[in-house]
Structure formats: C-alpha cells, structure tokens
C-alpha cells in the first residue's frame, strides 16, 4: 500500500510540471505585461518620474527576460535577480494590482476555497450514496421516479444560473442575502459562536448549488451499477440461502457497485472545482474565484497564474484522494502493480 501511495504521488510531479507550464503559457498569452502597460499609460500622460521606478520593477520581476527563463524563474528552477526564488521556494510572486505579495492577497481566501470544495465533495458522496441505493433497490417506485426526475433537472441546470435564481428567490421571499460569507452584521466582528454558525449557514447554499449536478450524475451512476449487480445470479443464490435482504445488499452487490462510484468522483472533481469558482463569483463568496476574475481582468499575471495553479493542484489532490480510496477498497489496484490513472 505504501509503495502504491509513493508511486502515485511521484507520478504527480511530471503532471504538475506540465500544468505549471501550461498555466504560465496561458497567463503570458495577452500581449505585454502589467508593468509595460503602466509604463505605456504613464508615457502617454507624459509622466517621466515614475517610469524609472517601474523600469526597476520590470527588472526586479525579470519581466525583461525571455519566455522560458521567466517560466523557470517563476517556478524556482532558475536563478532570478535574487537567486532561486520561485514557487518551489515558497515565493508565490507579487501582485501588481494590490501591490502586495500574492500570498497576502490570496492567503485569507485559500482556507475557505478548500473548505468549500471538500464540503461539496462530501455533500455529493453523502447525498448520492443513500439515494442511489434507494433508487436501485426500489426501481420504478414513485421515489425512484421522483429522484430520477430531480436528477435530470439537477444535471441540466447550470450551477451559476441556479445560484442566481436562488439568490433572487431568497432575496424576494425572505429578504435574506444568501450571498457573501456571513450575515452583514457579523462583518468586522470578533469570532464568536454565532458568527461561526452564520458562516456555516452561508456555506450550505453554495455547497448545494455546486454539488447538485455532480450529485445527480453520481446517483444515476450508482443506480445503474447497482442495478447491474442486483440482477446477477449470486444475489439470487444468496437470497435463496435465506440471507436477509439488507445483509445481502451490503455484503455483496453494494461492494461491487461502489468501486466505479469512487472512481467516478475523481472525474467529477474538475467540474466541481470549476463550478465553485463561478458560483463564488455569482454569490460573492470570498474564495479564490472573485480574486481570479479581477486578476484576469487587470492582467495581474502572477496573481492569476498562482490561482490557476492552485485550483489545478486542488483538483489533482482530490483525484489523488479518490485514487487512494479506490486502492484501499480494491486490492486489485493496490497489488496489481498497474496504476489506475
């Protein structure tokens, strides 16, 4: 098992390198950079004094180097003006827009981003698991039809539109702002029990909004898997031998059906994370989503680059966890020597 974990983690390194390169490439796509745009603006307004400072900053952040060198400096594999000082060394770059290091800008938003995403994954698991089992064991019952219908709607309703609709309805009916992280009266208040509860209450709606489509997909998948298993002969044999229905279900078909269920959530994670970004923007949650949007709009390259990378790493870790779970459950993967990537 340990061997498997180590190999699985080592496999992430080349992936990370490729992803960081892609990210850097994408954020460098727009012509020019933040500082040269500023210089152009200052030149246009005829201000000469600050230009020298900006030129210095350009050197400082090695924006005058060629593309590959800049990438390596950013990652920390090449000496910059201050020696090796990049992502690997823990320097996440400088945000030009906020005039602060990136970690100070995104730092406060990171915990919430992680909490929100993991809450969503947990929500998907916890909700879809019992409903999937219910739908499969009581196929064609009213409950099954109801959940299938809800599932279709949930699958097709885009999450950011759902967020918008919910925001509107809550505002309309209860005069309640579901956006934001906490009720307005707690902002700038010291942490208390009530404030924590308010934060939790505000996390529920976004979690549901982001998780709906994923939950719907997982219910469908688990139902289909379990139905396949339930019609197999070993189930009939077990029943004929007098096993109790619940015991039979948990002991045999469920164990078979749960495997693809966990493998699938790995595929869902990218869409969950990407959903959390836009839902945060719509509901103005202080996660990395809104910061990313403003960084992209103002071409604050190190900031947006770091967030893109962070979001990608978050999905990779999610997939890693789902792979490890799968390995715990399925000895074929753990011992078979073939990684399930």
């Amino acid at each position: 098992m340990i061997y498997y974990i180590i190999r699985r983690i080592l496999m992430m390194i080349p992936t990370l390198l490729v992803i960081s390169f892609l990210t850097f490439f994408i954020i460098e796509l727009p012509t020019g950079d933040y500082i040269s745009n500023q210089i152009a603006a200052l030149k246009a307004s005829g201000e000469q004094s600050s230009i020298a400072k900006l030129e210095f900053l350009r050197k400082e952040f090695s924006l005058d180097r060629p593309f590959f060198e800049r990438y390596l400096i950013w990652v920390g594999l090449w000496p910059g003006p201050h020696g090796f000082d990049g992502l690997i060394q823990g320097n996440w770059g400088w945000s030009f827009e906020f005039d602060k290091p990136v970690d100070q800008v995104v730092g406060p938003t990171l915990p919430l981003t992680i909490v929100l995403n993991f809450a969503t994954i947990l929500f998907v698991y916890v909700v879809s698991f019992p409903i999937g089992i219910y739908s499969a064991t009581r196929q064609y019952s009213w409950g099954d039809y109801g959940f299938t219908f809800l599932g279709y709607i949930g699958l097709a309703t885009p999450n950011f539109l759902l967020a918008l609709i919910l925001l509107y309805l809550f505002n309309r009916w209860f005069g309640l702002s579901v956006g934001g992280l906490m009720a307005p009266e707690y902002i700038d208040q010291p942490w208390s029990f009530d404030k924590a509860m308010s934060v939790l209450a505000h996390l529920i709606v976004p979690t549901i909004v982001i998780g709906t489509s994923g939950t719907a997909a997982m219910i469908r998948r688990l139902r289909a898997n379990l139905l396949d298993e339930l019609h197999k002969q070993y189930v009939t044999t077990g029943r004929a031998k007098g096993l109790k229905e619940n015991q039979l279900l948990v002991k045999y078909p469920l164990r078979m059906a749960i495997n693809p269920f966990i493998a699938d959530i790995g595929n869902l994670i990218p869409s969950l994370v990407s959903g959390s970004v836009i839902v945060s923007v719509v509901m103005s949650l202080p996660t990395v989503g809104p910061v990313l949007l403003s960084a992209l709009q103002s071409q604050d390259q190190f900031l947006s680059g770091f967030i893109l990378l962070f979001v990608a790493v978050l999905t990779l870790i999610g997939m890693l966890i789902s792979d490890l779970l799968l390995a715990v459950l399925d000895p074929r993967i753990r011992l078979g020597g073939r990684a399930s990537s």
Partner: protein, 393 residues
C-alpha cells in the same frame, strides 16, 4: 385423490391430429415481413427507428429545431432590433398578452402603459392603462433591418400596434426589448456550441485517430496529454484564455476566439472515445483485410474504421454542446466573453449581475429560461442518440 381432480390434466380422449400440409424444414429460417424489413434496413434506418421510440428525445429535437429557427430568422421573429433603445421605457415591466377585453374577444393584444416617475425612489413606475387596447399586428411592416446584413427589409412576424409598444418580457436599463434580445441572442448562443463542437470533433478525431491507430509512444504521449487536460478545471482556464483575447477585436473575432477556446478544452473526451473504439475496430477482420490489400493508414482510418463509429461521435458531440453553450454564457456573464453590440444570452444576463437590481426588475433574469430549456433538450436528445447509436444491441 384421483387423476381427474388435478388441475390442468389433459382431457382423456383427444383425437390424434395430423397437419396435412407438407413439412417445411426451413421454417425457422424464414422471416416474417417485419423481420425482413429489419434485416434489410440500413444501419441508419434502424437507428432512426430506435431513436423514434425515445419520445422525450424526439420532442427535445423538435423544441431545439424551433429554437434554432431563431438563428436564420431572428430579424423576422423579433419585433424590435437587438440594440434599439426606447428611452421612454427604461426597465419597463413585461406586458402580458390578453385575448378578451371587457368580456369581448379582440384577439391577442396588450394594454398600453403609462409611465410616471416616483419622486421618492426616483424610479419609473409603469401602470397598465386598461382603456388603451393595443392589438398585436401579425405579418406586418415594422422596424427596418438589414436581412442577413445583405438587403433592407421591414417585414416582421408580429409587431406592436401603431404607436404602441410590445415588450413581452420587459426592457432593460436602456429600454432595449428583452424578447427581441433573446431572439437575437439565440443566434450567437446556439451556434457557439455547434462551431465549438466542430472544432472539438476535428481535434478529437485527429488525436484519437493517431493514438488509436498507431499506438506505441505516440499513443502514450497523447494519452498523458488527455489525462492532464481532463484533470484541469475547465472554467478557470476558459476564463484565463478568454481574458487573453484582445479587447480591440471586433465581436466577430471574439466570437470565433471563444468557440476555439471552448473547443480546445473539450476534445480530450472525444479523443478518448475515438481511441478506444479504434483500438477495438482495428482488430476486426475487415480492417486487417484492408491493411493486407495495401491500403494506407489514412484510407483505412477514414474509409473503413470511421464509418463504424460515426454514430457514437455524433451522440457524444451532442452531449458536449450544452457545456459549451453554458461556457459562453458564463464567460459573457462575467464580462470575459462577448460584449455589446454583440448579443448573446450571456450578454443579456450580464444585466442581471447586480442582485439588488434583479430584485426590483426580475424580468432581467429571463434569459435563464431559454438557456435551461436548451440545455435540458440537448441532454435528452443526446441521451436518445446515444441509445440509438448502437442499434444492434
């Protein structure tokens, strides 16, 4: 217990029966006309039969066709231009259609609106004037436009009464008719998915084809590429890529830029499907025969292997269209995609960004409805197509 008392026991005196017609030894191989029709039908014919049985998919297809009629005929269907401003009717509420006035049938009409300014909130307040009956005109001459940008015309399917207004779902902050906006917006919103999917199919076929046919190192490189792209969250990347589109571009270029961006991240799923299909089809005898007869890889792939899974490609492409429509909507909503004067459903939704404005003027949310309908319809249609794609199963 006697024999007679038992249920289902055969009656005692059955006459020995012999069928006088001669025995036909091939009787099991002969087919009813029904079966014959099935066996002689082409693959596509059978798929169509199977698809027709999926009622929900068929109806979704019909709905989509109706929606897509807006694409060529937007100018005719919309009573107003997409960017026509009516400064007298800012944030005008929807005018409901009525049929009866004072118990008398008049045909579809709306009541005229009188507007006055509320001095306390400084908002325009619109009230329906129950005496002012404005019948909707059909097949009429109204606002002039350039049809397909080619020739001038002023023919509309329906228009407001002379001197009246017809805002079926209200107007926005500049007095632009929302309904017309939706009709014009369909043009970009609905085609963005089609163009994007085309790009994605081309890329998917190309990479999937190479990987599946040649295998080896090429295969594993492409596989790794697919894995990495699939493990990335789409939306943040779409956001970053579309933020990189120069602001100075014209809407047409931005539109094409967007479709390329949407297609660029979508192909891995398709490529993977193509690859696995190719891997299995490559082993079929007819493919081997073609290779042995000296056909070049290109010919084998395009002539012998591709037709074997065209239906699958169409089905999975249909399923990825809604994601692209949503992608465009999300990007435009966030101000990263299309901008006025281009009109798409996302651009219209952009007006609904401020939730307190939406609470006062809820009709700004209207674009949500067609988006959800179209996305649902594409999902059902794709499901039906996917089931029909394997008709022999």
């Amino acid at each position: 217990m006697t024999m007679d008392a038992r249920d289902g026991a055969p009656p005692r005196n059955v006459e020995h029966y012999v069928d006088p017609t001669p025995f036909n030894p091939t009787v099991t191989e002969e087919m009813t006309p029904e079966q014959e029709r099935y066996y002689q039908a082409s693959q596509w014919q059978i798929m169509w039969w199977k698809f027709k049985r999926h009622k929900l998919a068929v109806w979704s297809g019909v709905i989509l066709i109706i929606f897509y009629l807006c694409v060529p005929f937007a100018e005719v269907i919309a009573p107003y231009g997409a960017n026509t401003r009516d400064s007298q009717h800012l944030f005008a509420p929807p005018q409901p259609l009525h049929l009866f006035h004072n118990g008398e049938f008049v045909g579809p009409f709306v009541y005229g609106m009188t507007s006055e300014i509320d001095m306390e909130t400084l908002q325009w307040v619109f009230t329906e004037n129950e005496d002012d009956v404005q019948p909707v005109r059909f097949f009429c001459r109204g606002a002039s436009y350039k049809f397909w940008g080619l020739f001038d015309a002023d023919f509309h399917l329906f228009c407001p009464a002379e001197g009246g207004t017809l805002f079926l779902i209200g107007t926005d902050r500049l007095g632009r008719d929302q309904f017309s906006g939706l009709v014009y917006g369909a043009r970009l919103s609905l085609t963005v998915g089609l163009v994007g999917v085309t790009i994605s199919i081309v890329l998917g076929l190309f990479f999937g084809g190479i990987a599946g046919y040649f295998g080896g190192i090429l295969d594993s490189i492409i596989q790794r590429m697919i894995e990495i792209i699939r493990s990335l969250p789409e939306l943040p990347l779409w956001m970053a890529l579309s933020a990189a589109l120069p602001v100075t571009w014209s809407p047409v270029w931005i539109y094409f830029g967007l479709t390329i961006i949407l297609g660029l991240l979508d192909w891995p799923g398709l490529a993977r499907a193509v690859r696995s299909k190719l891997l299995s089809l490559r082993e079929e005898e007819y493919a081997k025969a073609a290779v042995l007869m000296g056909a070049k890889p290109k010919r084998v792939i395009t002539r012998h292997l591709l037709p074997g899974f065209t239906s699958h490609i169409i089905a999975s492409a249909t399923l990825s269209i809604p994601a692209m429509i949503l992608g465009e909507t999300a990007l435009s909503y966030l101000n990263l995609g299309l901008r006025r004067p281009a009109v798409s459903w996302g651009v219209l939704l952009n007006e609904a960004q401020n939730i307190s404005v939406v609470t006062v003027y809820p009709w700004l949310m209207a674009p949500v409805i067609p988006i959800i309908i179209v996305v649902l319809a594409f999902n059902f249609l794709g499901d039906g197509l996917r089931d029909a794609a394997d008709p022999y199963k």
